[in-house]
Amino acid sequence: MTRPLLFTPAALTLISVCLSAQAPQPDPALKDAAKQGKDLWANQGDRDGATIKFEQVLAALEPKSLTLDPEWSLLLCETYNWLAILEDRNPAKKADAAKRMEALVNFNPDFELDKNITSGKLLSLYDGLRSAKLAKVSFTYLPEGGVLKVDEKPGPALPSRHLPFGVHKLIYTKPGFSPQEVDFELAPKDSRNVDFKLDRNASTITFFTYPSGTEVSLDGKSLGKTPVQTASAEVPVELKAIAEKAGLKVEDLSGAFVLSDLKVGKHLLELKSSCFRPKRVELGETFTTPYADHILEAIKLDPSRGTLTVSSPWPGGELFLSGQSYGALPVNGVSVCAGTYDLVVKYPAGGFSQRLDVPENKTVSLATKPKPRLTFIGFDGTDDFPGKSRLITHLKGLGDRLKEVAFIRPKEGEPSLEAMARIKTAKDTELVLSLNTIKDKPGSAVDLVVGTLGGEVEHFAVKPLDEDPLLDLVARLNMQPQIWEPSIGLLVADLPGEAGPMVINAGDSEKAGIQILKPITQADGKPVSTASALRKILLESKGDTLSVAQAGLATSLPLGREPLEIPLYAANLCYPFVLAELRLRTIAAKGDESAFLKLNQAIALMHFRRYDKALELLREAKVLGSGRSPQVLGLGQGTVDYYTGICLSKLGSVYIPEAIQAFGKAQGFPNSTLFGPDGPLVAPLAKQAAEDLKN
């Protein structure tokens, strides 16, 4: 529990001054220089040496005179004083002593010269300069420790001030008290006494937090952040006690934060800081009845951190959390503040982005892979159309709806043509989104175009006034092509009256003990009654094997994955995205996996009738059949050769002989299929295709 501590008002003032937040201050070495100057003169009588030292200090402080804190201001005043004394004793510089006195009066007329070292002549000069344009005003304060505002400029409540002749408005304030205002006019040779006596109207509470920079709210109203502690030569004993009681070092504490104007009643203090658990402090009525000044024990927030591990099988990734780089992947077990981050991994090609929550005391592990980057190049806006602003609003929010691409917004003010040229040069995106209006058609439709940098484009006719004009675009950009499925190498079917899916073909699994024409009754220890149920278990399985049972006899079958073909014109796919996605996946793929990815890339290119490009990929795709029995049906080299024949046949009659040759090769792979492992055999189709070409 946070209890009030009782300190004297003087101690409170000291702590407050000591720990107040200030602007950046000069190099502390200047204080040593000033001390060396004093020593040179006092101990060695070296006036020139001393002068040089003080001139160094002056040169450093004078330009910053308006922002110096009281300690440095005092040093500047002393430096003027010392230089005036030294120069007054040097005939060559005697005239400069008066300038120092004048500068001092201008900087701080309330500074009193050191009478022990300053000559009577200089003292008279200083007093004369002051009284020529200033009059002295003396103050008493009740209570002390407040702030005196002189003509709107706040400052410490000093016992006296020298003020210019003329009208002045003075206000003395102190938290917990009603301010008092005094107006008067000063004439030459005037002197005046002013007594301030404030009436208490509220309580104050002063506290320190760990860490500094903690957000403070009182009764739901934000009051700002606790200040950073200022380094000070002398730490008040009271502050040490506060730190010790909280088990902290003094330097861990924030600067003092004062809750002023606390009226009668209970109050709720809330403190928040990133990386720390929030804290609530209930302030009872005793703090405000009667009104008084209080200092709380230090409020220490407990750290709230989590651990993050990010890896990627793709090379070259660099991790960024909310814009800050955490270096190259893998990043293992890095301690981060608990909270939500915009996690970005930048790859040489593609990117990954995700809003990530790191819970306190938890480890979050994430495997990332590059996603295609989709850059929206904006809309020049020269053409107007109904619903334009609505559509633009939808487009601005597009990134939040896309799960499979990293969305890059347009650069502010960059025309779309320039953006396109920049992207083509930099090649730092895989996909481009652009927008065209359709001028000569009724219906106010707009054409959204998604394209690769290679020119494979797809158009989306969008009606800006639809409830969700981007629905189709979003759905298709979020649809990953399915190119693998788990397999245990069995063909099963549901037959009436059977206890489970009947094995129709077992391939190599017969050797493992699977019996043809017997139903499978269990898979992965769970009962299965239909082929769909078995498929569901397959899709959910993660190991290397799957146990299936026939008539109570369990057999462990290797769980592999079989490649699938993507459809050529599926209405639910966005083919530029499919192409970009497959290209990225191919970067990290090897062997047969790479070959099947290239096969599917080729099919995606066939969608755009880019048979020449497709052909290049098909020629690179070499299926070795590693890890698969030659008896098992599925996509294979025969499939690649069949599509090679298809592409060649589309390139014109000049390539017909090569196409026939490719179809001939395809016939040499009796277990290659189309679509996937449950598709038709390629060989008879290739034979038919070759015959068609020959005829």
Binding site: N436, I438, K439, D440, K441, P442, G443, A445, D447, V457, E458, H459, F460, A461, K463, D472, L491, V492, A493, D494, L495, P496, M502, I504, N505, I516, L517, A531, S532, R535, E565, P567, L568, Y569, A570, A571, N572, H607, R609, L633, L674, F675, D678, G679, P680, L681, P684, L685, K687, Q688, A689, E691, D692
Partner: protein
């Protein structure tokens, strides 16, 4: 995407540079044509067809080249096909669309429809030429139009009708490959599976049927695939012997039929039963029997027309819905099959030929031994039993023998007579055989191999069995005319 959007998905857009007045004029025309189109559409939905046609005709006059004119033409064509059920009347609209809007994506739909109408009009395989050309045009001209999958599917059907199985398979698979989620995809996959079976690839057929079941589970084709898998696996892969399940359907008492002599499965799997004692046919749907068609005396063969009504062969001739016999070449018909083209194949036990009678009543003779029983095959041909030749032949759609099975081959003994043949849509053929060492039931696969055989003694049944048919659960139904009952073998 709605049909009203003026640009098709994935279609490249070429924006012509036009002067401002021309652009404004174009916009005004477009405005009028859209209003006229929508006005016609409103009337159409209110079933005020004359008003709709009048409005659309105005549109065709006012803006004949607009995209809405193309929309109107296709709507008018569809009206004739779907509402009036007169597809021929749609042809002028489709041809105009094809001529005047060849660059419009709607022309692809028009050409597909036109091809379908031409295909439906075909009476023989060679008549399909024009339809095939139209489907090929859709494929060649509108590569990425959704109609292309439909065109491939229709090409598959056309090639199937021509018994060009290789091209049919290619076309069906292409229709599926384009977009497995399209409405054509399950239909195409089902047909591709059947073609694979016809070509002898049972495993390939089963793979595709199971793929269909898994990936399009809520389609009618998936239901169709289920029984097709089950029956194929049961007859061709499992070895369980035939046994009698007794009276059929379950719950029906004996003599619920009166002298059943003919059994024929209908297109939806219902069983048509001709009762000689009643001189009429009935259809058994979910175990409920209902009379169908008119009275026909002494029917020797029964077929089911596409409209669900039975046709008969009697000594007097071919009897269709009108009940008037059309004379045949002979007077001893023993079997009749109605094929895909509407041609009736007639077998006669005294005439050494099969008579083929087309839709127009023209007949031609196909040289053949005399026929004792006839059953349809899924390849468009027939299974023919000839006691004179003592063989069963599986003929293709051109009447050419593909499979030849001497009586008794593969059986424990020979037989002399085939009393009845039955077949299913999967190419299985069953026979009631008599005389000699083997009297009972034989079941052959599409390749002529014996899949099941059982004598009456083995089955433990007796009677005068004169008709046999398959059901879709992998059973055989026998008609016993002397005991007035049906039995099921499983």
């Amino acid at each position: 995407m709605t049909g009203l959007l003026p640009i098709p998905r994935r279609h490249a857009i070429a924006l012509a540079l036009v002067s401002l007045p021309a652009c404004v004029l174009l916009a005004q025309d477009a405005d009028i044509s859209e209003k006229l189109y929508q006005s016609g559409e409103r009337a159409f939905h209110a079933h005020s067809y004359p008003e709709a046609f009048e409005t659309w005709n105005q549109l065709l006059q006012a803006a004949p080249r607009s995209s809405f004119a193309a929309q109107a033409l296709i709507r008018m064509a569809r009206y004739h096909i779907e509402v009036e059920k007169k597809p021929d009347s749609a042809l002028p609209f489709l041809e105009r669309l094809k001529t005047e809007h060849i660059k419009s994506p709607i022309a692809a739909e028009a050409m597909l429809l036109r091809g379908e109408i031409l295909a439906q009009r075909a009476k023989k395989p060679t008549d399909m030429k024009e339809a095939i050309a139209e489907f090929n045009r859709v494929v060649d001209l509108y590569t990425d139009n959704p109609a292309v999958a439909g065109a491939h599917y229709q090409l598959g059907l056309a090639f199937q009708g021509q018994s060009n199985w290789g091209r049919a398979l290619q076309s069906f698979l292409e229709a599926y490959r384009l977009d497995p989620l399209s409405t054509f995809a399950p239909k195409a996959l089902l047909q591709a599976a059947e073609v694979l079976d016809i070509r002898g690839d049972l495993q390939g057929c089963l793979r595709l049927l199971e793929r269909l079941r898994e990936r399009s589970p809520n389609t009618p084709e998936a239901k169709d695939a289920a029984w097709r898998i089950a029956v194929r696996v049961k007859w061709r892969m499992q070895k369980t012997p035939l046994k009698s399940e007794g009276l059929w359907p379950a719950g029906k008492a004996a003599k619920w039929v009166n002298t059943p002599t003919l059994l024929t499965p209908g297109p939806d799997g219902d069983l048509y039963i001709y009762e000689d004692g009643l001189d009429r046919a009935s259809v058994l749907h979910k175990n409920q029997s209902a009379p169908v068609g008119g009275l026909v005396k002494g029917a020797k063969a029964m077929m089911v027309a596409p409209n669900g009504l039975p046709w008969f062969l009697t000594k007097q001739g071919l009897v269709k819905e009108d009940g008037v016999p059309a004379a045949l070449a002979g007077n001893a018909p023993t079997g009749g099959v109605l094929d895909h083209w509407g041609t009736v194949w007639v077998g006669d036990k005294k005439i050494p030929a099969l008579t083929l009678i087309d839709l127009d009543g023209q007949s031609k003779a196909l040289p053949s031994p005399t026929t004792n029983a006839l059953a349809p095959l899924p390849n468009g041909g027939v299974a023919q039993a000839s006691d004179a030749n003592r063989d069963v032949k599986f003929l293709d759609a051109n009447g050419q023998p593909q499979v030849w099975i001497p009586y008794g081959k593969g059986l424990s003994g020979v037989f002399r007579y085939v009393l009845a043949l039955g077949s299913d849509a999967l190419g299985h053929v069953a026979a009631i055989v008599d005389g000699g060492e083997f009297e009972g039931v034989v079941l052959w696969g599409p390749d002529g191999s014996v899949l099941r055989q059982a004598t009456w003694r083995q089955l433990g049944i007796s009677g005068k069995f004169v008709a046999i048919a398959f059901d879709r659960s992998g059973g055989l139904i026998l008609a016993d005319r002397s005991n007035d009952l049906l039995l099921r073998l499983n």
